[in-house]
């Protein structure tokens, strides 16, 4: 049996050898067909790779296009010019120009009066109410500021530009079309007619929308701005940075330079790697339980947001800092130790300064992540509707990404463009931070 098997093996080997010895005709039709096929497969494979990259880039372009095309119009705002009579009987009945009295006057009434004077044909109550929507409810504050600034206006009749209501803004920007069915749009034919009458009288203008950058949140899209959220983001990031940077760098130095290689260090190491991959919402749950339920810190405050995000950014910073410290060559340490420096001096005088650019790059990237983070902040109540600009890290506040989330949820058409514009601002900050990180790396990167 065994003989038989070995015999067959021998015979197979000899026939194989015989085949191999037969010279190959490289120009034969078979071979060239096969080569053609293999080259075609090669080209196909390469095309798949290129297609994959192009698909990913196309998604990026689509994302950018959809945001910019939706959002660019939010940077301008429609204004309406109306002839307002600054009636002394309404503004300053006693005539002594007391700012307290002037400040309390009914400017809303003045604007409504002016609108009625502009469109005398509007008589019924419900029609009037529709007419008043042309001007935003925030316009009366503008008027008040103006009168407080120049009290000489009282008694005069002036043409003033007032901020328009959000629906008319949408109409002016072309998001509401007059051609669609009247029942399915937010403005009826009368309102569009009035608007066109104003437009024909050159009383409609688009202006740069500074309010968007200076206001806090509002229920009225035309009055809502991102400044409150930006300040909230700033406080949150400051708290995050102040906590996670020193702690992260200290931990990285210890783990890389001082820690004995034992079980405990190994556990810490595995732990940090895993923390970096824990879903961010779990950090939100931790923040809710630890900071709000146990420590009773104020809800919605940037301090709590910063504390939560600090725990989340810590692994990122530790990992980046360790990589930067590891990249400093051992010869530097040996030289310092050889000259009599203590280990702590070696690290603080030589290793750390050399690793700093790398550490800072990692920190900026971690901060950029923290700036874009939303989910954990939802858990600790930073979703509240907050109009006021926060004055300190203890005040209730919201942050840019959460503001985007809140606006994206709002039903008004005008909030779509506000959301996209807020996204553009957020992305601008992120690009700035990442650009800074790239610059740092380019400028200070050292190859040893």
């Amino acid at each position: 049996m065994t003989d038989m098997a070995s015999l067959m093996e021998d015979r197979a080997a000899t026939t194989d050898a015989a085949n191999l010895r037969k010279p190959v005709d490289w120009d034969s039709a078979d071979i060239s067909r096969s080569i053609k096929k293999r080259y075609a497969a090669e080209r196909r494979f390469k095309t798949y790779g290129l297609t994959a990259i192009m698909l990913a880039l196309a998604a990026l372009v689509m994302l950018g296009y959809s945001i910019i095309s939706k959002g660019y119009s939010a940077f301008v705002q429609t204004y309406v010019q109306i002839e307002v009579t600054f009636d002394p009987a309404v503004i300053d009945p006693e005539g002594n120009r007391d700012p307290a009295v002037i400040g309390r006057a009914n400017y809303d009434g003045l604007i409504k009066e002016a609108l009625r004077a502009r469109f005398p044909e509007v008589t019924s109550r419900s029609e009037k109410r529709k007419l008043y929507d042309i001007v935003s409810s925030g316009a009366s504050y503008d008027l008040r500021e103006r009168v407080l600034d120049t009290p000489s206006l009282i008694g005069q009749t002036r043409k003033v530009w007032l901020i328009s209501g959000d629906d008319f803004d949408m109409l002016n920007k072309g998001y509401i079309s007059a051609d669609t069915n009247e029942a399915s749009r937010r403005l009826d034919d009368d309102q569009i007619g009035w608007f066109q009458a104003l437009q024909n009288g050159d009383a409609i203008e688009k202006r740069f929308h500074t309010r968007f950058f200076t206001n806090g949140d509002s229920r009225e899209p035309e009055l809502a701005g991102i400044w409150g959220a930006a300040v909230g983001s700033f406080y949150t990031l400051i708290v995050t940075l102040l906590l996670s940077f020193p702690i992260g760098v200290a931990a990285a130095i210890y783990l890389e330079e001082f820690a004995p290689k034992n079980r405990l260090t190994q556990i810490i190491e595995v732990n940090i790697n895993n923390l970096a991959a824990v879903p961010s919402i779990v950090f939100g749950l931790l923040g809710l339980e630890l900071y709000l339920n146990v420590m009773h810190l104020p809800r919605s405050a940037p301090v709590v947001g910063g504390l939560t995000l600090a725990l989340m950014t810590l692994p990122t910073i530790i990992i980046a800092a360790r990589a930067a410290i590891k990249a400093v060559p051992p010869s530097i340490r040996q030289a310092a130790l050889g000259l009599g420096a203590s280990p702590v001096q070696t690290v603080s005088h030589h290793v750390l300064p050399l690793a700093m650019p790398g550490i800072l790059t990692g920190t900026i990237i971690g901060m950029a992540q923290a700036l874009g983070e939303t989910a954990p902040l939802l858990m600790i109540g930073m979703v509240a509707f907050i109009v006021d600009i926060p004055g300190s890290a203890m005040d209730a506040a919201t942050v840019l990404p959460v503001q985007i989330y809140l606006w994206a949820d709002s039903p008004e058409r005008a909030f779509v463009e506000k959301t996209s514009a807020a996204i553009m601002v957020l992305l601008a900050f992120l690009i700035l931070m990442n650009g800074l990180a790239v610059l740092l790396r380019k400028k200070f990167e050292r190859k040893w």
Partner: protein, 459 residues
């Protein structure tokens, strides 16, 4: 405000004690530093550390304990009919904190509560004043004691270095502490939840409708807490995301690593990485306002009924988000395959694609599997895209055109708005969080192990 002030005060005292310590050392040296054990700067740091660290520790402990202690004091004084009912108690505590913050004029509450609110305000003032006094005392005592200990042959450098080393160990321990914190806080509330709802029902129940009555006068059913539909929804969306991310990510990595010219690589790689840097809330907006309507319209043209919150829209966008993650991880893995394997394959006459498919890919497979597992864990834990683009109703379906909900969506909906830490509804969010944490942790540990092992193989 007061916190910033306190921190500034402590920082100022630290700076002062640094100067004092250094001056004293210089004075003791009599002009020759070689008479000292350490450099004057070490004596300065020594006093600064002893001044600042105890004060800082006190500050942290004080802020951590202030809330619970004042609350306990307030509850102690409230009448029994309020404290006996947890619902009433939390309402009263809310009112009290509003009154204490001077925002409660409009509230219509019992006089005891108003009085308690005023007492809380008083307690806060007392606590803040006491903190300032105690903190300054601690800082000054630390400064004085350490200052008095300075003598010429004191080993200041060794002392400072020992403190610095302990500080660094403490900082490393925070990483462990936060894991412990996560586990404990999730466990604590999840155990509360499981005392109200049977864990088996939670793990294997097929129905999820957490609407329970938060107040006694609300009409609501008892609620059912079966998490299977949530996990099915999560897995469906994750699966769709992987269908996008794995082929696109892998092929981009292959093209970048093996085919692309350096110039192409130089601009395409950062461009891909932008995809990873875009905040998830932006993807959520994109999914909800661009992709979902597009899919619905396309579906209606084709005669399909696509839900406006379809799993497909959320999954596709999540897939796009994960592409750079898959591609950079698998790029790492494939570039670690030794050059000799490539050279061997080319030497035998294989084309590039044959080398990749038959040599590099099989050699890198364990690492790629690890990368994909990491990507899966990220997709499972992703929150904002699904919160904005996926539905709220827990449908048990495998149809990607229908709306499904996910674990993270439910956590967010349960915890945004009314929270009631004695109702199963709010607590179930923590149970879901615990499951989410354990699942992602398991995936991560396993994936990191696989990647690590693979790395060792070729090192």
């Amino acid at each position: 405000m007061s916190l910033t002030f306190l921190l500034l005060a402590v920082a100022l005292l630290c700076a002062l004690s640094f100067v004092f310590g250094r001056q004293r050392a210089i004075a003791l040296s009599g002009g020759r530093f070689s008479n000292l054990h350490s450099l004057p700067i070490h004596y300065g740091t020594y006093t600064a550390l002893w001044c600042g660290l105890p004060a800082l520790a006190l500050l942290i402990v004080w802020y951590a304990l202030q809330g619970p202690v004042t609350e306990a004091l307030i509850i102690n004084d409230l009448p029994v009919e309020i404290t006996s009912d947890t619902g009433k108690l939390s309402l009263a505590l809310n009112a009290i904190s509003l009154i204490a913050a001077d925002n409660g004029q409009h509230l219509n509450v019992a006089p005891e509560v108003v009085e308690a609110g005023n007492r809380l305000a008083l307690l806060h003032t007392i606590s803040n004043t006491a903190l300032i006094v105690v903190l300054l005392c601690v800082a000054l005592v630390g400064l004085g004691l350490s200052y008095r200990r300075i003598v010429a042959d004191m080993r200041a450098r060794n002392n400072v270095e020992r403190i610095v080393r302990y500080l660094m160990i403490g900082c490393s321990a925070i990483a462990i502490l936060s894991t412990v914190g996560i586990v404990f806080s999730l466990m604590f509330e999840a155990l509360h939840f499981f005392s109200k709802v049977n864990p088996l029902e939670f793990l294997f129940g097929l129905e999820w409708s957490p609407q329970t009555a938060i107040r006694a006068d609300q009409v609501a059913s008892d609620g059912s807490f079966g998490m299977i539909p949530l996990f099915a929804g999560t897995l469906l969306i994750t699966f769709i995301a992987m269908l996008v991310a794995v082929p696109v990510g892998l092929f981009s990595a292959i093209y970048m690593g093996e085919y692309a010219s350096p110039t192409f690589r130089a601009w395409a790689k950062p461009a891909l990485e932008i995809l990873a840097g875009v905040p998830t809330v932006v993807y959520g907006f994109f999914a909800a306002l661009t992709v979902a309507p597009f899919l619905r319209d396309t579906g209606s043209v084709l005669g399909l009924s696509v839900s406006s919150e379809s799993a497909l829209a959320a999954g596709l966008v999540m897939g796009v988000m994960i592409i750079p993650f898959v591609s950079s991880l698998s790029d790492d893995v494939m570039s670690q395959v030794p050059q000799s394997l490539r050279d061997g394959s080319y030497g035998l006459g294989a084309t590039k694609s044959e080398t990749i498919r038959h040599v590099i890919f099989p050699a890198a497979l364990p690492g790629i599997v690890g990368a994909i597992l990491l990507a899966v864990s990220r997709a499972i834990g992703e929150t904002m895209i699904v919160v904005m683009a996926a539905g709220l109703a827990a449908n048990l379906t495998a149809n990607p055109l229908q709306a499904v909900t996910t674990v993270t969506v439910q956590i967010v909906t349960l915890l945004v708005g009314d929270q009631e830490f004695d109702s199963a509804k709010t607590l179930s969010a923590f149970a879901l969080g615990l499951v989410l944490f354990l699942v992602t942790l398991g995936l991560n540990v396993f994936a990191l192990k696989v990647v690590q092992k693979y790395r060792e193989k070729y090192d």
